[in-house]
């Protein structure tokens, strides 16, 4: 049951991000919903499988060419490793700042990996790459991620209780 719910959760997040959020105005289209929610649950609730959500998300982006740069699976794998490492060794899961720090460090590592990939692309096709667009987009994503975390932190437990009460989520979650 929990397996089905976790898959269902991933699909809902994926659809929300790649279908609904991307159609919103004012830069909200850049909201990294899957990444933020996955890392929040990973660190705050120790749901290890949510790192799999991020990985599956990266495969989805690569397969359908919907990523920011090519080979998103590599970039996101680096991000998953950094998230795993920092959550275990460096940052506390008890505070908002700890979770946010894990998230930001993981996303910064993704940006670093994307920069390398984009540099290779720029080397062969300079007309395809706009560094300004890339960094403004990445900066926007960092801001939106922090904003989403500010929203998620107090709200998510209420949603969890609501879902449990309506039997959409099992009690063990």
């Amino acid at each position: 049951m929990i397996v089905v719910q976790s898959i269902f959760g991933w699909i809902i997040l994926l659809w929300l991000e790649t279908s609904f959020f991307v159609s919103l105005p004012w830069g909200l289209w850049a909201t990294p919903l899957v990444f933020t929610v996955s890392l929040y649950f990973y660190q705050q609730h120790n749901w290890r499988f949510t790192l799999g959500w991020v990985f599956a998300y990266a495969i989805f982006l690569d397969f359908f060419h919907l990523g920011i740069v090519p080979l998103e699976t590599i970039s996101y794998s680096v991000g998953i490793f950094v998230a795993w490492f920092t959550a275990r060794r460096w940052f506390s899961h008890r505070s908002f700042y700890g979770v946010l720090a894990t998230m930001l460090s993981a996303y910064l590592s993704i940006i670093a990996s994307q920069t390398i990939i984009l540099f290779i692309q720029w080397f062969f096709h300079p007309e395809w790459v706009s560094w300004m667009a890339f960094y403004s987009f990445s900066g926007l994503r960092l801001i939106l991620m922090s904003g989403l975390m500010l929203f998620l932190f107090p709200v998510i437990q209420r949603v969890q209780k609501l879902l449990q009460a309506s039997f959409l989520l099992s009690r063990s979650w």
Binding site: F21, H65, W128
Partner: protein, 265 residues
């Protein structure tokens, strides 16, 4: 907390991948259900965007007036393009090459089900795939023949479209001016195109219309692309360039038409 055993983890990963494959690759009718949900989500997001745009612009013009003006502009653009096309056809003694070319394609309507979040590229996913006759390079249009872009990858039930505004996109295009100037419309990211490689002696004016030239195999001619907003000339360079504003805003698209080859002809 849970999923501590390796078996559970393996099962979870397997189940996740299986579901992913079922939803996106198998050509069963139930793929319509997720596509329908995704399409509704895309429409909802676009509706919010439209409302916000109206709300922001409300100080100067009402939403209804804005819509009317946009529709009026689009009608004029289409009429003008058709008028010029008819003149050209008459001048060439009814050489119906362009007409025949148009007739060799049939339109299939498709829903936009996912988009890229990036501002570097604006690829989007549609709910038609190889089973519907969509191939790599197939043209995608919107409205009354506005060129949107080309298909860059396909699965059985889906296709990814790279819009003409992408930096990786280049489209053979013709200006509807006196000399029918031919050039390459290169995407600049965002919602702008650059018409390159126009010889210095060509006369280009602001507000000239740009259409597809038909020189590409899977892109028919005379599909509207956009309008010239700026012309830049450099005395050192042998070419001049024009900045084009496309008629279509890619992020606002919720439905498109795919031009598939008509095999009956």
């Amino acid at each position: 907390m849970f999923y501590s055993s390796r078996k559970t983890k393996f099962f979870l990963l397997l189940a996740l991948m299986s579901l992913f494959l079922i939803v996106f690759f198998l050509p069963f009718h139930f793929t319509n259900v997720p596509f329908l949900i995704q399409s509704v989500l895309v429409r909802s997001g676009s509706w919010v965007t439209l409302q916000v745009q109206h709300w922001v612009g409300a100080a100067t013009i009402s939403p209804e007036e804005l819509e009317e003006l946009k529709a009026e502009r689009d009608t004029y653009a289409v009429d003008y393009q058709e008028l010029l096309q008819l003149r050209e056809e008459k001048r060439q003694l009814e050489s119906l090459l362009s007409f025949v070319d148009r007739q060799q394609h049939s339109y299939l309507s498709a829903r936009v089900i996912s988009r890229s979040a990036s501002n570097l590229s604006s690829e989007f996913l549609i709910d038609l795939g190889e089973s519907d006759g969509v191939e790599i390079g197939t043209s995608v249009v919107a409205g009354d023949g506005y060129f949107v872009g080309k298909v860059i990858s396909t699965t059985t039930t889906t296709a990814t479209v790279s819009p003409l505004t992408n930096r990786t996109s280049a489209t053979a295009a013709t200006l509807l001016n006196e000399t029918r100037t031919i050039g390459i419309a290169q995407g600049e990211g965002g919602n702008i195109l650059l018409l390159k490689y126009i010889p210095q002696d060509e006369q280009i004016e602001v507000h000239d219309l740009l259409v597809t030239s038909g020189l590409e195999q899977q892109v028919p001619g005379n599909l509207l692309i956009g309008i010239v907003t700026t012309v830049t000339t450099d005395s050192i360079s042998p070419f001049q360039e024009a900045i084009i504003e496309p008629f279509i805003k890619i992020r606002e698209l919720t439905a498109v038409a795919v031009l598939v080859k008509n095999t009956s002809l």
